[in-house]
């Protein structure tokens, strides 16, 4: 299986482990990730202003590269995935944005959202299959109690992201179980961690993030996993004493990689 791979800026700086272990785990599972050539920043945050296209263009370029390569584009970072998926939806379903973006980019053949945007977890679930991953696990995480933290960006807006039920998701729990660990289900797994408020209102972030980690702890979790570098940062800095890891670190470990 070959996929286009879009790492994004954070995975080159703060979240190197997320990137490195995703690539190695994918290789172990027989997946070839081809990095999108000359990729640019996704934009960082999906621009909700309806009349703004300039901030969407870099995402469109990545999507066009994926269409060119004729294979789905996979991301690991929740934020990049959210931006790419939503911009792709605009290009497919919003004729005004699509038309303006195509004109600006002077595309001879207009891009109309043809690329398939996948999160790494979706790739594992839909293209590989959690049962096949369970077969590949050499060091099952038996006895570990792990809580999934989804955050907002993977799930919402539910109709566009179409990732899982935004109110009662199961994909990361299924992933945890495939690795042999016990999944801890707790109510705050799809609540916001505080996100960018970390820059100016640390108290709010503390409140939100500690609710998440306390919830996981009350459920008996020994660690929490996430796919989002910002969530990880907030939970680690403001949350509490439970270790917070990237989901790829867990996969890496269970596959017996060093």
């Amino acid at each position: 299986m070959v996929f286009s791979y879009y790492p994004g800026c954070t995975l080159r700086t703060k979240a190197k482990e997320l990137d490195r272990k995703a690539r190695l785990a994918a290789k172990e599972l027989g997946i070839e990730l081809c990095e999108v050539p000359e990729w640019q920043c996704c934009g960082g945050c999906y621009p909700v202003a309806k009349d703004e296209i300039a901030t969407k263009l870099s995402a469109v370029r990545t999507l066009m590269a994926a269409k060119e390569a004729d294979r789905p584009v996979v991301t690991v970072c929740s934020a990049c995935h959210n931006v790419l998926k939503r911009v792709n939806d605009d290009m497919k379903n919003d004729p005004v944005i699509s038309d303006r973006a195509n004109r600006y980019l002077q595309n001879e053949v207009p891009y109309q959202g043809e690329a398939e945007v996948l999160h790494f977890l979706e790739m594992l679930r839909d293209k590989v299959g959690f049962d096949r991953i369970a077969e590949k696990v050499t060091k099952p995480l038996t006895g570990r109690k792990i809580a999934a933290y989804y955050g907002c960006l993977l799930l919402r807006p539910g109709k566009v992201m179409a990732f899982d039920d935004p109110e009662n998701p199961t994909i990361i729990e299924d992933f945890i179980r495939a690795l042999g660990a016990e999944a801890v289900v707790y109510p705050y797994r799809n609540e916001c961690c505080g996100a960018y408020l970390a820059l100016e209102d640390r108290d709010s972030v503390k409140k939100k993030s500690s609710a998440v980690l306390n919830g996981a702890k009350a459920g008996g979790a020994d660690s929490v996993i996430t796919a989002c570098p910002l969530c990880l940062y907030n939970l680690q800095k403001c949350g509490g004493e439970i270790p917070v890891l990237y989901f790829t670190e867990l996969l890496f470990e269970a596959l017996g990689l060093e």
Binding site: K159, D165, E167, N168, P187, Y188, E191, G215, A218
Partner: protein, 663 residues
């Protein structure tokens, strides 16, 4: 050549202020065939009608053109006047110079010009008019009511009371519907069963009413006055005649793990069951999905204990063919599925329940014997949060409904009040977007909940319910205080939106009755014909037409019965005279018209034709049932060979009108 009279109405100042009526009358007087013209202040008045009648007699008119309001308004009036003066009523044409001219224009010169053109078109058409006679069809003096809830029961009782026979088809084993599951009714708080079950008994005892319970309508053919309906009586595996309803089998059946749908799955029943004590008909039914005997052939306990010998494991579905003059749809509603509303944790905690489940928990005949207990651990809840508008009044992009479900504000006030009345140590919160309580004594009722019973009404919505340590943590916003709230509730009750029963859509297809995008049946006129479907002979009762509470449902059910009685009272129905008719020599039997006909009026028959070369040939040609045809004209447009034409609106007549306008 026709002798035509032109009558121009002023409609007070409605027309005359914008159209020069005298100029119109004079201009039209010069048209070919026009032998008389006149204008008058109110043509529809008795004096005006007399002018028409006299002119017809004095000038030996063969037709009349009335330049007035829309034909929807007074066509019938003028047709009657013409008929009284001795000419065929279809020799009257209306030129609509009010709604389509004076009301929508300001400039008198151009409006007058347009009125003349419209009159000219009517004259051109009238030249090609021919006298038409409407046919007649007999009426079967029996009505069918589909659905045996309070709507269907009331309609059936009223029709029977007028002396006509009625059949009720109910898909469940008993009639009674949703009302039989409800505990108390607002705004008077009388017990639902106490007022419903006597009506159910009346139905059972009426000589005019037959109940086909555990049955479904399978096919409908025919037309107003003459419907042929196939009804499938599902196998109960119990002989309806022999069963005495003693209930012994329902106590002895060893299969105890069957979800009890009457209690919405809150407890369990046996595989052979009678839904509730006052069921009508009181006959046991075997649930084939759970019966050990039917599944494995080993058991037979019910058959052994039944002293009446009523158990029949070999029973099969039977299909009845019945004839009816009128059909009443009373298929009712259901609360929506809440699986997509997991922010309220409905699927995650048994202590998050719907309002209908709350009714069962507080009902003396329910799973808890009427004591308010939490489904999870059977303890008494001390803090209850009610959430209104779950799935109602959404923006249309979500998974819910755009409409207001109408009944939730009142039943939530009822639940809150009754809880505080019976358990004063319980704190009750109600979260609302708006409280909507129009209705007799309704707002007073809601205010009592707030003012006398101390229910905490909070404007705002609940964002999330999370089950934690046996409690339900409810996070919500108080929009008036501008605060975030966190309430540790023991029970959360969701006022789920209501939607039409799932059987309504396929039924509408069978009946060729129209529906809106929410699958509610459409009425013939939203204000003036609220209990009739646009399809002749189909009537609407209760929530199948839109959300309604019990008082409104009963009112509509009786109104519906009055309409049915009016129909059944007639011996013959006058058909529409403007019906389609094929030119059989042009028809090539392609079936296009049959496919576009929304009323199922067109069939095909093989007919013998004498050919020019003196041979005979059998050809397949269209045939229109004039009793069913509504004259919509869809077939005349669709027919590729131009064989289909409409009496009173023939292709030639329409073209003559167009030519007159374009001249």
């Amino acid at each position: 050549m026709q002798r035509i009279g032109v009558f121009v109405c002023w409609c007070g100042s409605n027309i005359a202020a914008t159209v020069d009526v005298k100029a119109v009358a004079e201009a039209l007087g010069k048209e070919p065939g026009v032998v008389f013209f006149e204008d008058y202040q109110y043509m529809c008045s008795e004096e005006g009608q007399n002018k028409i009648k006299n002119a017809i007699k004095d000038y030996a008119l063969t037709g009349a053109v009335i330049c007035s309001c829309s034909p929807r308004m007074h066509e019938n009036t003028f047709r009657k006047a013409a008929a009284a003066a001795g000419i065929n009523s279809f020799m009257v044409e209306i030129a609509n110079i009010r709604e389509q001219c004076s009301w929508i224009h300001k400039d008198k010169v151009s409006a007058t010009e347009k009125a003349i053109v419209l009159g000219r078109a009517a004259i051109a058409k009238l030249h090609l008019n021919a006298p038409l006679t409407a046919g007649e069809s007999p009426v079967v003096k029996r009505a069918l009511v589909i659905g045996g809830g309070i709507a269907g029961i009331q309609t059936a009782l009223d029709i029977a009371d007028a002396g006509f026979e009625v059949d009720i088809v109910e898909k469940k084993p008993t009639i009674g519907g949703k009302m039989s599951q409800i505990d108390k009714t607002f705004p008077t708080l009388d017990c639902a069963a106490c007022i419903l079950t006597p009506k159910m008994v009346d139905v059972a005892q009426s000589e005019k009413i037959r109940i086909f319970a555990y049955s479904e309508v399978e096919a409908v053919k025919g037309f107003v006055g003459n419907f042929n309906v196939s009804i499938r009586k599902k196998a109960r595996y119990v002989d309806e005649v022999k069963c005495t309803g003693c209930g012994l089998c329902t106590e002895k059946c060893p299969q105890k793990k069957v979800p009890n749908d009457f209690n919405l799955g809150l407890d369990q029943k046996r595989a052979i069951y009678i839904p509730f004590a006052q069921a009508v008909p009181k006959i046991a039914t075997i649930d084939a999905d759970y019966c050990t005997m039917l599944k494995t052939g080993k058991c037979g306990v019910c058959s052994k204990v039944c002293t009446a010998g009523a158990i029949d494991y070999k029973q099969k579905d039977t299909v009845l063919e019945e004839q009816y003059g009128a059909i009443v749809v009373a298929t009712g509603f259901n609360p929506i599925e809440l699986t997509k509303y997991d922010e309220f944790a409905y699927s995650q905690s048994p202590d998050v329940i719907t309002s209908l489940e709350f009714e069962r928990i507080t009902n003396a005949a329910g799973p808890t014997g009427g004591t308010l207990l939490r489904p999870s651990d059977g303890t008494h809840p001390h803090k209850i949060v009610f959430v209104q508008c779950v799935g109602s009044r959404e923006d249309g992009n979500g998974c819910g409904k755009t409409y207001c479900s109408k009944i939730c504000c009142m039943y939530t006030a009822k639940h809150a009040m009754l809880t505080r009345e019976k358990y004063p140590d319980t704190e009750v919160y109600v979260f609302y977007i708006d409280v909507r309580t129009p209705g007799k004594n309704f707002d007073e009722f809601y205010r009592r909940a707030v003012e006398e019973y101390g229910v905490h009404y909070i404007k705002g919505m609940v964002g999330k319910v999370s089950p934690e340590n046996g409690k339900l943590m409810v996070r919500a916003s108080d929009l008036i205080e501008g605060k975030q709230l966190l309430i540790d509730a023991d029970l959360v009750v969701l006022a789920a939106a209501i939607e039409p029963d799932k059987s309504a859509r396929p039924l509408a297809t069978m009946l060729t009755a129209s529906m809106d995008t929410n699958d509610f049946f459409t009425e013939a006129h939203p204000k003036l014909r609220p209990v009739e479907s646009p399809t002749a002979g189909i009537f609407l009762s209760g929530c199948c037409q839109g959300p309604k509470d019990i008082p409104e449902t009963v009112a509509q059910a009786s109104a519906c019965a009055a309409k049915v009685i009016g129909l059944l009272n007639k011996d013959k129905l006058t058909c529409n005279a403007c019906v389609a008719h094929p030119d059989e020599m042009l028809c090539n039997g392609c079936s296009t018209c049959e496919k576009v006909c929304p009323y199922g009026a067109i069939t095909y028959e093989s007919k013998e034709f004498r050919m020019p070369d003196r041979t005979t040939r059998i050809r397949r040609v269209a045939s229109v049932n004039p009793a069913v045809c509504q004259g919509c004209g869809a077939c005349t447009v669709a027919c590729p060979s131009g064989a289909m034409d409409l009496h009173g609106f023939s292709n030639r007549q329409i073209m003559a009108e167009v030519d007159a306008i374009c001249k």
